[in-house]
Symmetry: C2
Subunit: 600 residues, 2 copies
């Protein structure tokens, strides 16, 4: 400790919200260099190396071959797949001295595809799985939680190449199994959930989420085994209702109903239903949003959903990707005077709304479309009857029937998912939980191979497009998740196989014999392959040393102090359990055994 480049901090860093971030900084594992960009200090680098080694071993065992791509890449391949634009502001772009366009890669599908295209030409050479452990970049709008959402981070990314669907499925399952082994070895709890594919594209994807209250991802589970990221939850569509007997829509004065609650109260008072009370679920809420497309174009979108549900912006964002979304602003309303705030109804939206003619541009013929795109929650099926805005201040329309009185441009998964909602596969009511995305696997299919021309000759001598999978683990994020899952108020408490050291030996007091015994124990343990950090600081109080040992989080702490006079030292397990007094002659054996047991 006297020579280790380390300063522990008593105060939490001001920008830290979550425990792993606070503790990794306070314990001198990492240090912030810029928002979302961290420096690895000696102890942090040791943990990182151990996490990487486990990932590498399992990737190799799964038949993956390691390569290493540059982080700085030319624009062209990403242009060919459309991702240069689709990534929008999340992509770090730069130009070189010759004004060539480059990017800092957030992921490497394009480059792997081109590499295999460059090297292979026959079905006989497939299947193939390549991987790398490499530094990646993403210009996050809101980097947060330390390593959990960073702008420079380490990923293990793997890519599989197959000729047939069955081959892709086998490669995908092979990686999926490797991921299960990796997270099990790391000691990271995980749930595998269905996920959306986002900018990656592809037919199917699953996420590995580490359940934790501080997770950024919300996921759902049903008693029958359904599990999905909340963005991927598909709303079960109710059956259409008959509406032959439905009364005609009628506009009513509804003064002073600024909220759905006040509207429902007024409806129950002034226009009571014979069968039951009106509820918020009888109202159709039309939420105005603004999309920004990758090409910079701004579009006003209205989402119609039952009034008892909110729009979930993350679900909406996943549904409209690569566009970015935000609540509409004053300028958006000003551009669309037909939108009467608080009283927006379907009549001015989508197919039934005012039409706008767009002049021809390039190859596109001139077109006429509605001024405001209108998308409905899947629950708004044909025949459902709604109270909704009448597009005049102080008025709502009643008995407006979907399919009879209005239609939309389509449906959208944008409404919040709630505990108790039915699972889409009928496996029971959903419960919600939060997690950190530590892995994501994609059955990409032929998207990248098609765009970049990766074909091989099949058995019949015919060129066929290769089908691919892509498989990512956030290595630095997994480390943060480990810190998050293994800490208490006093500090970190690492599982042995990723701890920067197995044992912290603490010498207390001023007695020379104590320091000699501690040094000799350190030497003895090190000779046996046990990794020891020896707190040999001469003028630091025992209290501070114990605090530091708890903060740093070695699985075992051995205290050499006053007891030495009686021939004993103390062995404390960091993760809880009894501290034991051990005769000094036996301590090296005991600690070696305990470490071996922890690593087993």
């Amino acid at each position: 400790m006297t020579s280790l480049f380390l300063r522990t901090l008593r105060e939490d860093p001001v920008d830290a919200e979550v425990a792993s971030h606070k503790l990794l900084v306070r314990a001198g594992y990492i240090r912030r260099a810029a928002p979302g960009i961290y420096t690895w200090l000696p102890l942090g680098l040791r943990v990182l190396a151990k996490v990487e080694a486990i990932v590498r071993e399992e990737m190799e065992d799964a038949g993956g071959q390691e390569v290493h791509f540059p982080a700085l890449l030319p624009r062209e391949p990403y242009e060919a797949t459309g991702r240069w634009e689709e990534y929008g502001a999340n992509l770090f772009r730069l130009t070189d001295r010759k004004d060539g366009d480059y990017l800092l890669a957030p992921t490497h599908e394009e480059m792997f595809t081109l590499l295999v295209k460059d090297m292979y030409s026959s079905y006989k050479e497939l299947p193939l799985t390549l991987f790398q452990i490499q530094t990646k970049y993403r210009d996050e709008a809101r980097p947060r939680a330390g390593l959990i959402r960073g702008r420079e981070f380490i990923m293990k990314d793997a890519y599989s190449f197959d000729v047939t669907e069955e081959g892709l499925e086998a490669s995908y399952q092979n990686q999926r199994a490797a991921y299960q082994r990796i997270f099990t070895r790391l000691g990271l709890e995980y749930v595998i959930v269905a996920a959306t594919s986002g900018a990656m594209g592809g037919s199917r994807s699953e996420e590995f989420l580490n359940p934790t209250a501080i997770g950024e991802d919300t996921f759902v589970r049903s008693p029958g085994g359904y599990a999905a990221n909340v963005e991927a939850v598909v709303t079960p569509v109710p059956e259409a209702l008959p509406y032959d007997d439905a009364p005609a829509a009628h506009v009513e004065d509804t003064p002073d109903t600024p909220t759905i609650d006040s509207l429902v109260a007024l409806a129950n008072e002034r226009f009571p239903r014979p069968d039951r009370e009106w509820t918020a679920a009888d109202t159709l809420k039309n939420v105005v949003l603004a999309l920004t497309h990758p090409d910079g174009r701004r579009e006003v979108l209205v989402v119609g959903l039952p009034g008892d549900r909110e729009v979930d912006l993350k679900r909406l964002e996943a549904a409209v990707e690569p566009a970015e979304v935000e609540p509409a602003g004053e300028a958006d309303f000003a551009a669309h005077p037909e939108l009467v705030k608080g009283y927006i109804g379907p009549e001015v939206l989508g197919p039934q709304g005012p039409q706008v003619t767009v002049p021809a541009e390039g190859k596109t013929p001139a077109s006429s479309h509605s001024a405001v795109r209108y998308l409905l929650d899947p629950r708004v099926v044909e025949g459902t009857r709604w109270i909704t805005g009448a597009n005049q201040h102080g008025k709502h329309v009643f008995d407006l029937v979907a399919g009879r009185d209005f239609t939309a441009d389509g449906t959208i998964e944008a409404a919040e998912v709630r505990a108790g909602d039915p699972a889409p596969d009928g496996s029971g009511p959903l419960e919600l939980a939060r997690g950190i995305e530590i892995g994501h696997i994609f059955a990409l299919g032929r998207k990248y191979a098609q765009a970049l021309g990766l074909t091989v000759l099949d058995e019949n001598g015919k060129q066929v497009v290769v089908t691919m999978g892509s498989y990512g683990i956030g290595v630095t994020r997994a480390l943060a998740a480990l810190a998050e899952a293994n800490h208490d108020e006093a500090g970190l408490a690492w599982p042995a196989h990723v701890a920067p050291m197995h044992v912290q030996v603490v010498a207390t007091g001023k007695d020379q014999a104590v320091f000699e015994a501690a040094a000799s124990l350190t030497a003895e343990l090190s000779a046996r392959g046990v990794e020891v950090l020896y707190d040999d600081r001469p003028k630091v109080s025992p209290g501070v040393k114990f605090k530091d040992a708890e903060l740093l989080g070695a699985p075992l702490v051995v205290v050499v102090g006053r007891g030495l006079a009686d021939g004993v030292v103390e062995v404390r397990p960091r993760q809880g359990g009894e501290a034991v007094q051990v005769p000094v002659a036996e301590v090296a054996d005991l600690v070696t055994e305990k470490v071996a047991a922890l690593l087993a």
Copy 2:
């Protein structure tokens, strides 16, 4: 080999000039992703890991502690030291989504300085040496020779922190010794030469050069042990000559003397010297150059040197860094009509030239300076007599005496160094050679600590500025140098400790028994820790397999083929030496022994 991600190429890549580049690509070790940016394939990555491991071990043995900094860094620290500008077009710059300025770090002095400032505060915590093995970026104007001059590359960079000069000297010598051990272990020949510090700054630096004809650096050596990069060679200054008896300068018609040779011939014919013939060394050549300063300002510079020497642009560049230099163009001459091409003489240059008044700007007072800066080769000492241009077409001036008839703005080390020139320390005539810079160590002194405020309390409780050293090894470049030094026409021939595999087992023919014996030998050797690549390709001819084995460069090749029927296999050392026939029962032992011997 049937599953390894590898395709060897018979043709050299079109952009490759040097053998290491050609062979590393042809043998499937690396592949170009963009100019100066490479992808590492499985075999290349194995060599890289071994080189890194040797570097890491020696750094740790020398007391270095490993950390890892981001590559993407904010502008501010580099602004504080002036390097944001000084690096000019060599720096990759970018902005993030919030328009913050960032760079891809070419080296990390600033960040290490700030980290230590952030963590340490007392002299007691020093000395300290930190290092990292990390990906770096440099937007080279002319990336070349594959990994030798790349734009994304791996460096080991180390930094030492001391309070005293003696401490810095000890840290510097410690790293210097570690470098000697590293290059010795890598099997890379090296010469340690005095060097210029360039953009790095600092008081002293030395380079480790790997001597090779394809090296970009020229260095000199003397019989007495002087060694320097040619940029760092200091010209011994002759003593001033008396010139009381020198005749007055006289302008003569010198028609048709476009070259120095023609001028000398005319002088000998028309104005013969009584004592000896005129030679080119009697003429003063004034070379017009254009500097571009980091702030974009362009400046015309004239260098005066004896007519028998050329300007060495690399020496000149080192002398004027951070400015970039090129021969003056038409626009530069147009801006300076006093420069009469082919007849330029001192009278219009420097102190005696036309003066220009620069208006005051900011805090700078208005100043008057000569239009064209004039710098002289150190050999042009006071009293030397010259034939040089008379600033009129067709005329030269004779007996123009330095110090009497003209002066300059200073001297510059810009003339070529020639074999036979005297060493500056009097240790004899210089010989020239070429090398690859594989390491560079700098005694930086207090430049960075001063600029960034890194101080510690000394023994007397006084704040003192820390003194630093910085020590770099081009890891990927060292790998290329190894490939360059260990190849022949047939391919690579790795030293065992960095080879991607120790042995290549080649099965030839179609006999099932051959393939079984080869597979069994591979398994046996692998079980003993010998790294084997087994060429198990079923339908590839022996000739192609042998060619591939030679191209890939494992230190030993074991051929299992026809001889198996007689109970023997062949063991061929790649680096030369006799192929031997070995009884199949003994081959595992023999190969294990040979590998152990190669690794010893």
